[in-house]
C-alpha cells in the first residue's frame, strides 16, 4: 500500500496550492477512503471509538447489498419470464442464472454510477465552496436512489432526480446533518411527480423490450401486486413469492426476506434504530387490522377486497419493508429523540398502509408517509423535549415551595 500512499503524497502539493485547489475535497475524499488518516485526539478524551461516519455508512451498504444483487437477478428473471423464455418447471434454478443477473446488472450498475457521479459531484462542489470535507452521507443515498427506481428509468431522469434531491433536499438546508427530508426519498418523490409515466402504472416494473423473434406471453400484465389490488381488489401473486421477492417492483424493494436480513444486521450492529422499525411494524399491523374490521362496510368490491387482506400481505407487498428498514431509519430526517422514534415509526407504518389502500393513485404510500413524517419529526421531538423541560421546571417549583 506504500506506493498508493506515495501517489497521494506526491499529488498533495498540487491540489493544496494553485489552480487545482477546487479538486482538493475530491482528493481528500479519495485519500481518506483508502487510508483512514492518522489524526490523533487533540482535546478532550484521549481514546476514541473505531467507528466513524464512513463505517456507519458502509454498514448500511453491507445491509443493502443482498437486496441489490437480488434485484438484479429479479430484473432479468421478470424480463425473461414476460417473454415466456423460462421453464417454470425448474423453479429456483431459473432464477439465479447468469443471464438474469447480467440483464439486471447492465441496467442497474449504470444507474448507480450516474447517481454517484451526479450526487457526489454536487457534494464535492459544496465541500469546496464551504471549505469542509465531503460528508459520507451520500454513500448510502447514492445506492438507495437507484434501488427505489423502476428498472427502465432513463439515466438522465435518475441524474436529475438525484441532483434535485441533493441540492434542494440537502444542501440548501446546510448539507449533511441539516436536511429535513430523506434525500433518497426526495429523489424518488421528484421522479414520481416529474415523470409519472416512468414511475407508476403497469408498464414500468418489468423490462418488456422484445428482441427479434421474441414476443410477450399471452395475457401478460406487468402490474405490481399493489397495482392489482387497487384496480381489482385481489392479486395473482402469492405472499410467499412476495416474501422471497420474485415479483415485479422497484429494483431493491421486492425481497422482503433479504431486506429483513439487512434489517437484522442493522439492528445487530446498532446502526439502524430498532425502535423505528418495530414501531413501523406495529403501525402497519394496527391499520391493517382496522381495515379488516371496516372492510365489510365498503361499497365497492375492490375496496372490500383491498381492505380485507391480512396484515402480512401488506408487509411483503410494495415497499413497506424496504422503506421501514432503510428509509425511515435515516437518523438525520427521523425523529432525534428515543421516545419520538416510537411515534415517528408508528405513523410511518400506519399512514403508509393507509395511503396505499385509500388512494389508488398512489399505490405506494410508504414514500409519502415517510416524507410526511420527516416533516413532522421536529414537531414530535419538540414535544418530547418540552416534556423534559417541563419536568425540570416542575422540580424547580417544588424545591422553591
Amino acid at each position: 500500500m506504500k506506493f498508493l500512499q506515495n501517489i497521494f503524497d506526491s499529488a498533495r502539493p498540487v491540489v493544496t496550492t494553485g489552480k487545482l485547489k477546487p479538486l482538493y475535497p475530491l482528493y481528500n475524499a479519495l485519500e481518506t477512503m483508502l487510508f483512514v488518516p492518522d489524526h490523533n485526539a487533540k482535546s478532550g478524551a484521549h481514546v476514541r471509538d473505531a467507528i466513524d461516519l464512513k463505517r456507519t455508512m458502509i454498514t448500511v451498504i453491507f445491509a443493502l447489498i443482498p437486496a441489490l444483487i437480488f434485484g438484479m437477478f429479479n430484473a432479468g428473471y421478470q424480463h425473461y419470464r414476460a417473454l415466456g423464455l423460462l421453464n417454470d418447471a425448474i423453479g429456483w434454478l431459473q432464477f439465479f442464472t447468469l443471464d438474469n443477473f447480467l440483464f439486471g446488472a447492465i441496467k442497474v450498475i449504470p444507474m448507480i454510477a450516474v447517481t454517484y457521479i451526479a450526487g457526489l459531484g454536487i457534494e464535492i462542489y459544496f465541500a469546496y465552496r464551504n471549505s469542509h470535507a465531503v460528508n459520507e452521507g451520500f454513500l448510502v443515498s447514492g445506492l438507495l436512489i437507484p434501488m427505489t427506481m423502476p428498472i427502465d428509468m432513463p439515466l438522465w431522469m435518475v441524474a436529475i432526480s438525484t441532483i434535485f434531491a441533493v441540492l434542494i433536499g440537502k444542501e440548501v438546508f446546510g448539507g449533511t446533518g441539516m436536511n429535513i427530508l430523506n434525500p433518497a426519498l426526495t429523489a424518488r418523490a421528484f421522479a414520481f411527480f416529474a415523470y409519472p409515466s416512468f414511475m407508476s402504472g403497469d408498464k414500468v416494473w418489468i423490462n418488456t423490450t422484445t428482441g427479434q423473434g421474441e414476443a410477450l406471453v399471452d395475457g401478460f400484465s406487468g402490474a405490481t401486486a399493489l397495482g392489482q389490488y387497487a384496480t381489482t381488489g385481489g392479486t395473482t401473486y402469492s405472499a410467499w413469492d412476495a416474501f422471497l421477492g420474485i415479483i415485479p417492483g422497484s429494483i431493491g424493494e421486492t425481497s422482503t426476506l433479504l431486506i429483513l436480513l439487512g434489517g437484522i444486521y442493522l439492528i445487530a450492529t446498532g446502526i439502524g434504530s430498532w425502535k423505528i422499525m418495530l414501531s413501523s411494524l406495529f403501525g402497519a399491523i394496527a391499520i391493517s387490522l382496522i381495515f379488516n374490521l371496516v372492510a365489510p362496510n365498503m361499497i365497492s368490491p375492490e375496496q372490500q377486497g383491498f381492505l380485507s387482506i391480512p396484515f402480512y400481505f401488506h408487509l411483503v407487498f410494495g415497499s413497506w419493508a424496504f422503506s421501514t428498514v432503510f428509509m425511515a431509519t435515516d437518523p438525520v430526517s427521523a425523529s432525534h429523540t428515543e421516545k419520538g422514534k416510537w411515534i415517528y415509526g408508528f405513523f410511518i407504518g400506519f399512514l403508509g398502509i393507509m395511503i396505499r389502500v385509500f388512494n389508488p393513485a398512489y399505490p405506494e404510500g410508504m414514500m409519502l408517509a415517510i416524507l410526511f413524517m420527516n416533516v413532522m419529526a421536529p414537531l414530535i421531538d419538540h414535544y418530547v423535549v418540552e416534556g423534559n423541560v417541563k419536568k425540570r421546571l416542575k422540580r424547580l417549583k417544588l424545591s422553591t415551595k
Partner: protein
C-alpha cells in the same frame, strides 16, 4: 443505612494496563510548576517574581476578581521562571524546590466558626480543591451551598481507588469531613456499591450513598442527579475524597501538603501501580524510570478527561491519576471497510464484538475525521442523566442560553460528556463544547 443507586447506562473502556495495588515511591522531583489554566474560573494575578523564595503554602498567584482565592506553592524553593503564552497569558510558574521542604504554619487550631474555617482554607490555598456546581469551577466562598458532595469513587479508567489512596490517612480524612460539615449543612459521601474500606464506610457526619454500574457511575454529576438534582439557582460544592484528606491534614498539622497516592496506569507503564506524588511536580524523571520506550502520550489525569503534558511535563495541581497510552501512528488502509476484528468499538459495527472480553491497547488515534452530527441516540447509551445530550449540545452550539438552561446545563460538567465523546461517530469535541457553553453562561450570569 445507605442507599444504593444503580446506574445502567455507561461504559467501562476495556483498556490494557490496569494499575496493581502495589505502592511505589516516585522519588525527588527537581522542579515544580503551577499552571493557572488548570484552575477553572480563576483569572490569575501574580504575587511573585523570578528569584523570589517561597515556602510551601505561600501564595503564588491569586484570582483577579476575588483576591481572597489564592493558589499556593506545593513546595518551598525559588521561583526560577514565569512562562507566558500569546498575549502575555500566564502559562506556568516554575519553582526549584529545596532539598528539605519548609511549610508555612497555618496553625493547628480547629476553629468552629464557618468564617474562620473558610479563611484558613483560602489562606492556605486548599480552597482551590473545592469545586462548585453549576459551571464546574472553583467554589465561591461567598456562596452557601445546599450540600457538599464528596466523591469517594473511582469508575473512570485506571482511577485511583480511595480505599488505597487514603490508607493511613484515616485521621486526616475524618478531620477533612468535619471541616466540610462546618461549611455546609449537608455532606454527601458517594462510594461504590462494593466498597469495603472502613475509612469510607464508617465516615462520620455524612450522608452515605452507594452507586453501582459502569462509568460514569463515579462522576459527581451522576451522584448529584440521583441524590439532590441541581435546579436553577442551586449551588453545590464538590470535592474528591483524596482532597478531603489534604484539607484534614491542613487542620491537624497546620501545613498544606499537596501529596497524593495516585494510580498510574496504561499500556505504556512498565509496572502500572500506585505512586506517591505531589501536585505540580515535574514528571520527566518519573516517566524516564517508569515508562516503556516508545512514542507515548503522557496524560495527567484519565484517558477521558486528562491533560496531555508531554514527556517533560508537570503533574497537574489537582490531578489524581496518571495515564500513559501509545500515540496513534500510521494511516489505516481501508480500515473502515475491513471486518476490523481488532478494532475496539462500543457499537457492533466492527467484528471485534465477537470477542467481548478482550482488552485493548488503545492509542490516541481519532479513527476518523470530524463530521456533522448525523447519528442520533448514540450518546444516550452512555449518558445516565435525564437530559437530552444532542439537544443540549446543539443549544450550546447555537449559544442559546435560555435553551441551555431549560435542557439542564446546570446539572452537568464537561467530564460527563467524555464517554459520549469517545463513542461519537462524528468525532465532535464535546467536552470542549460543553466547557464553552458553561463559560458563556457563567459570563452572562455573573
Amino acid at each position: 443505612m445507605s442507599k444504593t443507586h444503580i446506574i445502567r447506562k455507561g461504559l467501562n473502556l476495556p483498556l490494557l494496563g490496569e494499575p496493581s495495588e502495589k505502592v511505589n515511591s516516585s522519588g525527588f522531583s527537581s522542579s515544580f510548576a503551577l499552571r493557572p489554566s488548570e484552575f477553572i474560573g480563576l483569572n490569575p494575578k501574580l504575587n511573585v517574581k523570578v528569584g523570589d523564595k517561597v515556602k510551601a503554602g505561600e501564595c503564588i498567584f491569586h484570582d483577579k476578581s476575588n483576591d481572597k482565592i489564592l493558589v499556593t506553592s506545593p513546595v518551598s524553593g525559588e521561583i526560577t521562571a514565569i512562562d507566558r503564552g500569546p498575549k502575555r497569558r500566564l502559562d506556568a510558574i516554575v519553582i526549584r524546590p529545596e532539598e528539605k521542604c519548609h511549610y508555612v504554619n497555618f496553625g493547628k487550631e480547629f476553629p468552629f466558626e464557618k468564617e474562620k474555617i473558610i479563611s484558613k482554607l483560602l489562606l492556605s490555598g486548599a480552597w482551590t480543591l473545592l469545586q462548585m456546581r453549576p459551571y464546574g469551577c472553583i467554589a465561591n466562598p461567598m456562596d452557601s451551598p445546599k450540600a457538599i458532595f464528596v466523591n469517594g469513587m473511582a469508575s473512570s479508567p485506571f482511577a485511583s481507588k480511595p480505599s488505597i489512596s487514603l490508607k493511613g490517612k484515616e485521621e486526616f480524612f475524618a478531620a477533612g469531613l468535619k471541616v466540610l460539615n462546618a461549611l455546609s449543612g449537608k455532606t454527601v459521601l458517594s462510594i461504590s456499591s462494593n466498597e469495603e474500606s472502613k475509612i469510607l464506610l464508617h465516615a462520620e457526619g455524612v450522608e452515605l450513598h452507594r452507586f453501582s454500574g459502569p462509568h460514569p457511575s463515579g462522576n459527581t454529576s451522576v451522584h448529584i442527579s440521583k441524590v439532590s438534582p441541581i435546579n436553577k439557582g442551586d449551588i453545590v460544592w464538590t470535592i474528591a475524597a483524596l482532597d478531603v484528606a489534604i484539607i484534614g491534614q491542613l487542620f491537624i498539622s497546620g501545613e498544606y501538603h499537596l501529596d497524593r497516592l495516585v494510580a498510574a496506569g496504561g499500556s505504556g507503564m512498565k509496572e502500572p501501580g500506585y505512586f506517591n506524588v505531589r501536585g505540580g511536580q515535574s514528571m520527566s524523571v518519573f516517566f524516564n524510570e517508569n515508562v516503556k520506550p516508545g512514542n507515548y502520550r503522557f496524560i495527567s489525569g484519565s484517558v477521558l478527561t486528562g491533560n496531555n503534558i508531554g514527556k517533560e511535563g508537570y503533574l497537574g495541581y489537582l490531578t489524581k491519576q496518571i495515564t500513559i497510552i501509545p500515540e496513534g501512528e500510521n494511516t489505516d488502509f481501508l480500515g473502515w471497510v475491513l471486518p476490523g476484528f481488532d478494532k475496539y468499538s462500543f457499537s457492533k459495527a466492527y467484528f471485534s464484538w465477537l470477542f467481548p472480553n478482550r482488552k485493548y491497547n488503545l492509542t490516541t488515534k481519532l479513527n476518523g475525521e470530524e463530521r456533522a452530527f448525523v447519528v442520533t441516540g448514540q450518546y444516550d447509551k452512555v449518558f445516565p442523566f435525564d437530559i437530552f445530550p444532542n439537544q443540549l449540545l446543539k443549544s450550546i452550539w447555537a449559544e442559546d442560553l435560555e435553551k441551555m438552561e431549560e435542557l439542564g446545563i446546570y446539572e452537568i460538567v464537561p467530564e460527563d460528556f467524555a464517554l459520549c465523546e469517545v463513542i461519537c461517530t462524528s468525532k465532535q469535541p464535546l467536552q470542549e463544547m460543553v466547557r464553552k457553553g458553561l463559560d458563556v453562561l457563567y459570563a452572562e450570569m455573573n
